[in-house]
Point group: C2
Chain length 323, copies 2
């Protein structure tokens, strides 16, 4: 009989979220453990295995699980490794054989990729990209991530690290510094941190009226800017249209690359709805080759945000072939 469940694990800098998922994308049970309380990856993996078993309890068993899918920063799908993940306490400048180690400990196949690729697989399996074979997933969170699907498969490239669309250069002169070390990257603008920085810069550079001035500049978040925009604050609205416009410019170039059926937007910034969607769509059509104008769907993710990370990771495990 086919094994009916998969386990999805989303590893972040602070916590790892773990869930048991069925073929329809229902998260049946879930749990969370800390990911920053050890610098020893073997201990962390032991903790993960214990957490999975505790989560299953007496209702479910390991023998019903087809495999484990993991989304992790700097995850390499080809090798199942986590490479140079400086934001993980057990990471650092080294290559960790994560999938192999965990597979041995838990006795199940383990697939691993980075979080944005996991999100793309999740969207294709359970979400807005069901039935699509060519689409681009853009995650707009603290940073900007991407998962590119071509012919029904995630594009991993030669080394397993394809799809770093947050790091194309959008501003070639005096661009903002990006976490990757470059300047002017898309991520330095179209992320939550980017929106907050744009706000700070605009407030400093001008005398314009804005409710954002009531906040201490160094504490402004993208949520503050969103709330101000919803109250009709002109400066805040302008920040969203600046951000959406730049994101649209980038997306138009991405279409020239892989000619996707759709672009799926996911993550915190998408909560701003039309404030971001309208300038994005307008900018894509202003910057795209005529043959694609008004033809590329741009949609928000359909995964429930609280479940999305687990669902995305879990979807990887459906690729495991039954014995």
């Amino acid at each position: 009989m086919e094994k009916p469940y998969v386990v999805g694990i989303d590893i972040g800098g602070q916590t790892a979220k773990i869930g048991l998922v069925d073929a329809r994308g229902n998260v049946l049970v879930q749990t969370v453990i800390k990911s920053n309380d050890t610098d020893n990856y073997e201990i962390f993996i032991d903790n993960l295995c214990d957490a999975v078993k505790n989560m299953l309890g007496s209702k479910y068993s390991l023998s019903e699980i087809r495999g484990v899918g993991i989304g992790a920063p700097n995850g390499n799908y080809y090798k199942g490794t986590i490479e140079n993940a400086v934001n993980l306490t057990f990471g650092g400048p080294r290559v960790i054989p994560f999938a192999e180690t965990m597979s041995k400990k838990i006795g199940l196949p383990v697939r691993l990729t980075n979080d944005a690729n996991a999100a793309a697989v999740g969207e294709m399996t359970y979400g807005a990209a069901r039935g699509m074979k060519n689409f681009i997933m853009i995650t707009l969170g603290t940073g900007v991530g991407s998962g590119i699907v071509v012919g029904g498969y995630v594009l991993y490239g030669h080394d397993g690290f394809a799809g770093e669309l947050g790091h194309v250069t959008m501003v070639r002169k005096n661009g903002s510094l990006c976490g990757c070390g470059k300047t002017g990257c898309l991520e330095a603008y179209a992320s939550a941190t980017g929106v907050a920085r744009t706000a700070r810069e605009l407030l400093e550079a001008t005398d314009r009226k804005s409710v954002c001035r009531d906040l201490p500049a160094e504490n402004i978040t993208s949520k503050d800017v969103f709330e101000a925009a919803m109250e009709g604050d002109e400066l805040a609205k302008e920040i969203f249209s600046f951000t959406g416009n730049m994101l649209g410019e980038a997306l138009a170039d991405f279409v020239a690359f892989s000619s996707p059926e759709a672009i799926v937007l996911f993550g915190g910034l998408t909560r701003s709805g039309d404030l971001i969607m309208k300038p994005v769509v307008e900018s894509i059509n202003n910057n795209i080759m005529p043959q694609w104008r008004n033809k590329i769907k741009v949609v928000f993710s359909q995964l429930k945000e609280s479940d999305a990370a687990i669902l995305g990771a879990s979807a990887l495990a459906w690729e495991v072939k039954e014995d």
Copy 2:
């Protein structure tokens, strides 16, 4: 017995080049016909079929041919159509069922794609990309074309038209007009016409000394600029470094997309050798994410330029399955 030959046809605005190719990439016989003497595509296809048969003569026969591969402007691989090819006299704003029509007339399977994709398949089959599964082919001719190979297959995208990397936007303000209708496209700079235009603009905007001033500005070609640069002309050398720098900026972004093993440069501009290669490689490494710095091979095509178009197109036909 396996059929030992394929036919490659490269359709351009003036002529169509036709060749018979063996599995090692030898062009055994070849011929050329006009492609601009009829606006009726059926007549043109009749002419092509006659030319193929004449070329084979008595030495070769249609029964030894596995299939026909065609590279054509605006060729759609999925449908075998030529779509809205305004530069072909038999083209125009319509969709021509080219592969299907030719296949019926000649009695062989016919595969069709655009010229840059054909070049990529040619390079993978016979050239610098043999054994590679992930690379990007950039053709630097009158325009800038591209063929993207992912996991051993050309990336065609949702509609068959993926890989229009000549039309990513490199200059967002006051960019040069591109043939596609947009402004600031890579093609408006990193093509033979782009180099000539940059030369004209620099000559007009400054008083700087250059042997290029001896030519009537409106007639300057990229070849003139190349020859001037080889003689040590500073302005001409600067034009190549400007062009190479911009191309490198674009290529760095392309790497973030598909993480290729190599980038293969092909076409007229590559005859300028190190004049273009040096700034390209420098600029890639200045603009790329640290993880890829100095890791992406950049190489010139290894196909003999006179045979390349035929070889590229012919390589498509090897994909035809034997009956």
